[in-house]
């Protein structure tokens, strides 16, 4: 999933016909000065940190400036600040407006109905989690027919707008639906959708693009901002790699098996630090990739749990032994392996000969891993 910064979301909105304020993105005090001097944006302005986390207003990541001096000091204060783990590198400057009303509008996926669903509320500006269900209009949109007139009337009823905003609503809803479809979005959220001088304006933009649709959207290839560098490398190799809070690295094949392995470790008091899912394969080449990637995360101990389905376990074992020799000395990690499936005894024998602990029972393996971790100081660095 690719969460887009507000200003990128607003670019999409503009392209699809959703009205947004005229804003400028700046990355330095000089750029901010220049934006005001060139009249690209008029004072007073609102300065919005382009971070992906929510709650910016309360957290000081949205501020106002009435003069060039004030703007300079606000920009200096905001650039480089940490906000919920993100460093502020970009600021969006927009003219400060007088907001008449704040509404909520989004389209996301309803997995159960297998339909996109539009959510609308006449009480926007707060997080959707805090809205009562009866404040929300909930409308499934069938992709074969799109948003219909009766659904637009339902939203109109929830918003209870006056003209001209009321007459603008139909086109705005079409544009939001268009953005959701054309961008292969998981989420398009406008919160708040504001009434300014009687007109509808999207004051914020939250757009999440689906990863799997990347082949249709090369323009988002560089925007996977919420991944760690290792997660990014893994993604390129088709490996699911999630960094967690603990010290134990877990390599398994298949999302369910990897999760189950984490769960078992957890039950015995182990704290997993890396979730590495080979993606349902027991291909020895992929096992090698995984071992090298795991090494870079400097785990205190690694638990490898492979169910050999298609490939034979002895083949997987040989691949693993080979992989361990490729790991640089400095990055070596203690490994406990559990291999099940075709030819499993032979596979375990190969691992034993290479000095790798190889077990067959998941419970016993997990206990051994937790014991091994407890006996070692943490070697994991913050990569």
């Amino acid at each position: 999933m690719v969460k887009l910064a507000e200003w990128r979301g607003k670019e999409i909105f503009r392209r699809c016909g959703i009205p947004v304020p005229t804003g400028v993105v700046v990355r330095s005090v000089e750029e901010a000065d220049g934006a005001v001097r060139s009249a690209a944006v008029a004072l007073p302005v609102v300065v919005k940190a382009q971070v992906l986390a929510g709650g910016r207003g309360k957290g000081g990541a949205v501020r106002f400036a009435a003069s060039s001096e004030e703007l300079r000091s606000v920009v200096v204060g905001m650039l480089g600040m940490e906000f919920k783990g993100e460093t502020v590198k970009e600021l969006l400057l927009e003219p400060k407006v007088v907001v008449g009303r704040e509404l909520y509008l989004s389209i996301a996926l309803d997995r159960t109905a297998r339909l996109p669903v539009l959510l609308a509320s006449g009480q926007g500006g707060v997080e959707i989690e805090s809205m009562a269900d009866d404040q929300l209009v909930h409308l499934p949109i069938h992709p074969f027919v799109g948003l219909t007139a009766y659904e637009k009337r339902r939203v109109g009823g929830a918003f209870a707008l006056s003209t001209p905003a009321s007459t603008e609503l139909g086109r705005l809803l079409d544009a939001v639906w268009k953005a959701f479809q054309a961008e292969d979005a998981e989420l398009v959220e406008i919160n708040p959708l504001a009434v300014v001088d009687g007109h509808l304006v999207a004051l914020d933009a939250k757009v999440i693009i689906e990863d799997d649709a990347g082949f249709r959207h090369p323009e988002y290839a560089d925007l996977r901002d919420d991944r760690t560098p290792l997660e990014e490398i893994a993604r390129e190799k088709g490996i699911a790699f999630v960094q967690l809070d603990g010290d134990i690295g877990v390599i398994a094949n298949g999302a369910g098996l990897t999760m189950a392995t984490l769960d078992v470790l957890g039950q015995f008091g182990g704290r997993p630090g890396v979730f590495l899912d080979l993606g349902g394969t027991d291909d020895p080449a992929k096992v090698t990739e995984a071992a090298l990637l795991m090494a870079k995360a400097h785990p205190s101990v690694v638990f490898l749990n492979i169910f050999g389905g298609v490939t034979r376990c002895d083949t997987v074992a040989r691949g693993l032994v080979a992989a361990m020799t490729l790991v640089p000395e400095s990055d070596r990690f203690p490994l406990i392996a559990r291999i099940r499936g075709n030819n499993e005894e032979e596979g375990r024998a190969i691992l034993h000969s290479a000095g790798i602990t190889a077990l067959s029972d998941l419970k016993a393996s997990a206990q051994a891993v937790v014991a091994a971790e407890a006996s070692r100081p943490s070697a994991r660095s913050a990569t």
Binding site: M1, L109, R111, T112, R114, L115, P116, E129, H142, P143, F144, Q181, D184, E186, E210, D211, D212, A213, F215, R216, A240, V242, L244, D245, A252, N253, G254, A255, G256, L257, T258, M259, A260, L262, D263, V264, L265, G266, Q267, P272, F275, D277, G279, G280, F307, G308, G309, V310, R340, G341, N342, D361, L362, K363
Partner: protein, 294 residues
């Protein structure tokens, strides 16, 4: 009897000339499945592992009487491959391909409904009925004919559990891997009635994972419409919120889709919940015994 596939199943493999397509054609044939045709546009007339290849699904169906398709084509082409299968009149399509955009899958799902096509998957291991047919990629070694049904959202974890059932001396009626994507053609709720009606299934193992509410909906169904014993396992108790755990669908979003919520729902519905995956086989034995089936 079995669920969705049986000895009359005749499989066409879409994308048979690709690496995965060829490898699993071999495995499906080794299982005893009638793999009657392959389709790869432009490669019609060739033969892969003894299976004739056609340029189109319609031609494959016409010439070989194929009645199930399994799709291995890359994600960008999967939607078209599915629509071709649906237009060719196939009533069941197993989609192994992963990373299909869910927007495409929405079209596929609803077009499938319009055409009366059942989809298993995408991003799924498929269906296996020991002694009858396998359509998909579940390893042959885990199977043994028997009377335990298995239904799951994951792949290898299911292989482990199915294998465990074999190792304890039991066998399976039909195993279905539904796939780990946010939008699947067949959910637990859609598949449960098949197992309820299958006279060859005595007990059902349900393997779920975090994300979405498919297990909660399954629990509702189990409570009101399912009469056979159920053993359930849910992966992801230790998963943190907001992170995609391997499967596109496995994410705890806004506090929903936790393992705890799913476990509670299944327990309330009368399912026996396994704390560890390795506990499933013994709970199956116990469940069968209590039901007087063993």
């Amino acid at each position: 009897m079995s669920v969705l596939v049986d000895a009359d199943t005749r499989v066409v493999v879409q994308g048979i000339t690709g690496h995965q397509g060829t490898a699993h054609t071999v495995q499906m044939k080794a299982f005893g499945t009638q793999v009657v045709a392959g389709v790869t546009p432009g490669k019609g007339g060739s033969v892969v592992e003894g299976v004739p290849v056609f340029d189109s699904v319609a031609e494959a169906v016409e010439k070989t009487g194929a009645n199930v398709s399994v799709i291995f084509v890359p994600a960008p082409f999967a939607k078209d491959a599915f629509i071709e299968a649906a237009d060719a009149g196939l009533p069941l399509v197993v989609i192994v391909t992963e990373h299909i955009p869910f927007h495409d899958m929405l079209t596929m799902y609803h077009y499938g409904r319009l055409r009366g096509v059942r989809i298993i998957g995408p991003n799924c291991p498929g269906i296996g009925a020991p002694g009858k047919a396998k359509v998909g990629i579940i390893p042959n070694v885990v199977f043994r004919p028997g009377r335990v049904g298995v239904i799951s959202r994951s792949g290898t974890l299911t292989y482990e559990i199915v294998n465990g059932i074999k190792e304890i001396g039991l066998g399976q009626s039909t195993c279905i891997g539904l796939g780990g994507d946010p939008v699947v053609g067949t959910s637990f709720v859609d598949a449960l009635p098949f197992f309820e009606q299958d006279p060859d299934t005595d007990l059902l193992v349900l393997v779920g994972e975090i994300g979405g509410t498919a297990e909660e909906e399954a629990a509702e169904y189990l409570r009101h419409h399912f009469t056979k014993p159920v053993v359930a396992y849910i992966a992801g108790r230790s998963a943190p919120p907001g992170k995609r755990m391997g499967h596109a669908g496995a994410i705890i979003a806004r506090g929903r889709g936790t393992a705890q919520s799913k476990l509670a729902a299944l327990q309330t519905a009368g399912a026996t919940v396994a704390e560890f995956p390795y506990d499933v086989p013994s709970l199956v034995v116990q469940g069968l015994r209590e039901a007087g089936r063993r």
